[in-house]
């Protein structure tokens, strides 16, 4: 029993370290993202512009602020801050959506991009955009979100119909890739025959990007994602029961049918929101939960849910920073960077699992 207590203390210390570390990284990533770019802004300046916004604003209005302050103010409030916040919120959403899908499919390789859910959302978005382009110049935000939600749900149901019975990781992957190709084919078809101007935001979504969002986008996505994350966190207990399999979950009193629906809906909301605002950002959903498992050495949802969200936010902020600075002034799509980091992790996962199965 004494050994158990020491073991518990050691684990608690590890969990604390992981969360403190992620918290620090989160703050650093935000600051770093705001600091770096074509114009570097000092941390002190950032501090002043963020925390004493009114004061700086007044100075600018009165014309007493220096030219560098004016440009820094504009860069922060008009470009970098909303971009980094969008990356944080949507990155967290992607990672959490991946974790939910992995729990649901009991397969560590499940994720919104791999299962074709992101492509499905994009296809639906394309259909709706093209259909409405004659009637209106700009499609309202809520229609965008709703369309991508239905697209997510629909592809999810397809993936379910084909992939539910297989515990085989490669099979699920194949199903996902095929669904993804079908959806992309439809999307490309629509893009080919649509008017260039109507679908300008569809083409730039082919690899996903956090740039170009408005403050309204940031607000709406936070309003969708943050409450969803809270709900998922509150479901930690049934999630942990579900991880033992539906039979056991049911035997301890969980209403499996209802919970399954909740899981599908929650993960769809999260991945749909990302697709609506940033397009398909690949592999975050697999890579981040996996990193969290390694860090925490645990799969308990009560730890994994907040850790995945935080880590996903940090991961996407860093990837976005990489995307816009490495080949500056040319900007990469964030999906390019996440793929470059995420795909090797997936390959490594599959190989190490296969080895473990053989032993």
């Amino acid at each position: 029993m004494a050994a158990q207590v020491t073991g518990r203390r050691a684990r608690a210390a590890r969990y604390t370290a992981v969360f403190v570390g992620l918290g620090v990284l989160f703050v650093l990533a935000v600051l770093w993202n705001i600091h770096t770019g074509s114009v570097d802004i000092s941390v002190r300046e950032i501090w002043r512009i963020l925390l004493h916004k009114g004061e700086v604003r007044r100075e600018i209005d009165l014309g007493t602020a220096g030219a560098s302050t004016v440009s820094a103010y504009n860069i922060i409030w008009k470009i970098r801050l909303k971009r980094v916040l969008l990356a944080a919120v949507l990155g967290g959403a992607l990672a959490l959506s991946g974790f939910l899908l992995q729990t649901f499919f009991r397969n560590p390789i499940a994720g919104p991009f791999v299962l074709g859910i992101s492509s499905g959302a994009r296809m639906f978005l394309a259909i709706v955009t093209v259909a409405l382009s004659t009637a209106m110049t700009r499609v309202p935000l809520w229609i965008t979100v709703a369309a991508s939600f239905f697209g997510s749900m629909l592809t999810m149901l397809f993936a379910l119909a084909f992939g539910r019975r297989t515990r085989n990781m490669s099979m699920l992957l194949v199903i996902g890739i095929m669904l993804s190709y079908i959806c992309s084919a439809v999307t490309d078809f629509l893009i080919n025959f649509a008017d260039e101007a109507d679908i300008v935001n569809l083409t730039h979504w082919s690899m996903g990007s956090f740039s170009g969002g408005s403050w309204q986008d940031v607000g709406v996505s936070a309003l969708i994602v943050l409450p969803t994350v809270l709900v998922v966190f509150l479901l930690s207990k049934p999630l942990s029961a579900y991880a033992l399999g539906e039979g056991y979950a049911q035997s301890v009193g969980l209403n499996v049918r209802r919970f399954r629906l909740a899981l599908i809906a929650l993960s769809s909301v999260l991945s749909a929101c990302v697709t609506a605002f940033a397009g398909p950002v690949s592999f975050v959903g697999i890579a981040v939960p996996h990193i969290c498992r390694i860090l925490l050495r645990s799969e308990k949802p009560i730890l994994m849910v907040p850790a995945s969200f935080l880590c996903g936010a940090v991961f996407c902020m860093i990837c976005d920073l990489t995307a816009r600075t490495v080949f500056s002034p040319t900007e990469l799509a964030v999906g390019t960077v996440t793929s470059a980091v995420g795909a090797p992790i997936v390959i490594w996962l599959m190989i190490s699992r296969r080895r473990a199965q053989k032993e």
């Binding site: 073991g7 399999g245 039979g247 301890v252 969980l254 498992r293 050495r297 308990k300």
Partner: protein
């Protein structure tokens, strides 16, 4: 039954509209162990799945201490009934302790955090299944036997009144089978836990159970105490054994007897004939056995395997008629296999065989030239 704890009343189970097993009646008192036996696909698991509410009953009633199982809230049912399923459990990065603590689900708060009492119960359950020493081991790395015991501990952590197990002994070797069943016995005896399980092994079922239900041909063919239920004929009928046989007394199964004119006469007795009978059966050599007292240990194997068995009363001298029957069989057979159990009859028959030029050996392998 008046004081039954679990009662299945005219229960029909199946999938969709198709009934798999109909009109099941079963009553089980607290602290009793019941086993469902029957061939693969007979519906044992379907019954257990219905009982644990994984699938709805087609008709009929199931009650637990008088309460209707179908209408109990999930959590209330989980406090009374726990299961060990055949589902593969493949969690990652979970210790055995973690797996067992999953059984505390009905008792923990909104976030599922364990209290000191929860930990105490989990440790006690691990100790009960002799798994305290592997509490901190990764569940994925323990052996099949340990895994099954940990899953049983998980069920016990629900502090249930009844445990339902679906083929808990599959994939376990004989030692782990016995270990598991011993634990179940202790649970039933010491804690009054009621146990209902499906079992493949008839011998184990008859040894551990207070009640056995034979499931086959879409119904419960028989239900009662194992010694009443598991008779040779019933088991043959239940499993459709056309060849081979089942011995109720020993709870063992024998392969079909080699057919034909006996080519070897086996002198058995005192259990020494059994290995010869089995060796001849494997080689497909028809044989006769004798002269066995009616209560001899060899009888249980000689009867299903030998073409002819010559018996004599358990006490007193061997009747001369039996001796001459044996001599006639030796005349027809090519050789005599000697088990070596000393008796007057054996000595007389050995002498007779040698005088008539029959080969007499003590081991089957020495027979080969005669038979080839």
């Amino acid at each position: 039954m008046e004081n039954a704890y679990l009662q299945l009343d005219d229960l029909t189970v199946g999938y969709g509209r198709e009934a798999v097993v109909s009109h099941i009646r079963l009553a089980l008192r607290r602290g009793e162990i019941a086993s469902l036996v029957g061939p693969n696909g007979s519906g044992k698991s379907t019954i257990l799945k219905t009982l644990t509410r994984r699938i709805p009953a087609l008709s009929g009633k199931m009650t637990l201490a008088g309460a209707d199982i179908a209408s109990l809230p999930g959590r209330r049912l989980a406090e009374k009934m726990a299961s060990v399923l055949t589902d593969r459990v493949t969690p990652e990065l979970s210790t055995c302790f973690d797996i067992v603590s999953a059984g505390r689900y009905p008792y923990t708060g909104g976030f599922g955090l364990l209290t000191a009492r929860d930990r105490e119960v989990v440790n006690a359950c691990l100790a009960m299944v002799n798994a305290a020493s592997i509490a901190d081991r990764d569940f994925a790395s323990v052996s099949d036997g340990q895994r099954q015991r940990v899953l049983l501990a998980r069920a016990l952590a629900q502090e249930p009144e009844i445990v339902v197990l679906d083929e808990p002994t599959s994939f376990l070797d004989i030692r782990h089978k016995l270990e598991l069943l011993e634990i179940l016995r202790a649970l039933a005896r010491d804690r009054g836990v009621t146990v209902l399980m499906s079992l493949h092994e008839l011998d184990l079922a008859s040894k551990i159970s207070d009640l056995v239900a034979c499931v086959g041909q879409g119904r419960v063919l028989a239900c009662g105490r194992p010694e009443e239920i598991l008779t040779d004929d019933r088991v043959r009928a239940l499993y459709g054994l056309e060849r081979g046989s089942y011995n109720a007394l020993l709870g063992s199964v024998e392969l079909p007897r080699p057919a034909g004119e006996p080519r070897v006469f086996v002198l058995g007795g005192g259990g020494r004939g059994i290995r010869h009978y089995r060796a001849l059966q494997k080689a497909g050599v028809p044989f006769a056995a004798g002269i066995l007292p009616e209560n001899d240990l060899d009888m249980a194997v000689a009867l299903p395997l030998a073409e002819t068995v010559i018996t004599c009363p358990a006490t007193g001298p061997v009747p001369p008629a039996r001796l001459s029957d044996a001599r006639a069989l030796i005349d027809r057979a090519g050789a005599v296999l000697d088990g070596g159990f000393p008796s007057e009859a054996r000595a007389a028959l050995l002498r007779y065989a040698r005088e008539h030029g029959k080969q007499v050996v003590a081991d089957y392998t020495q027979l080969s030239e005669v038979l080839s």
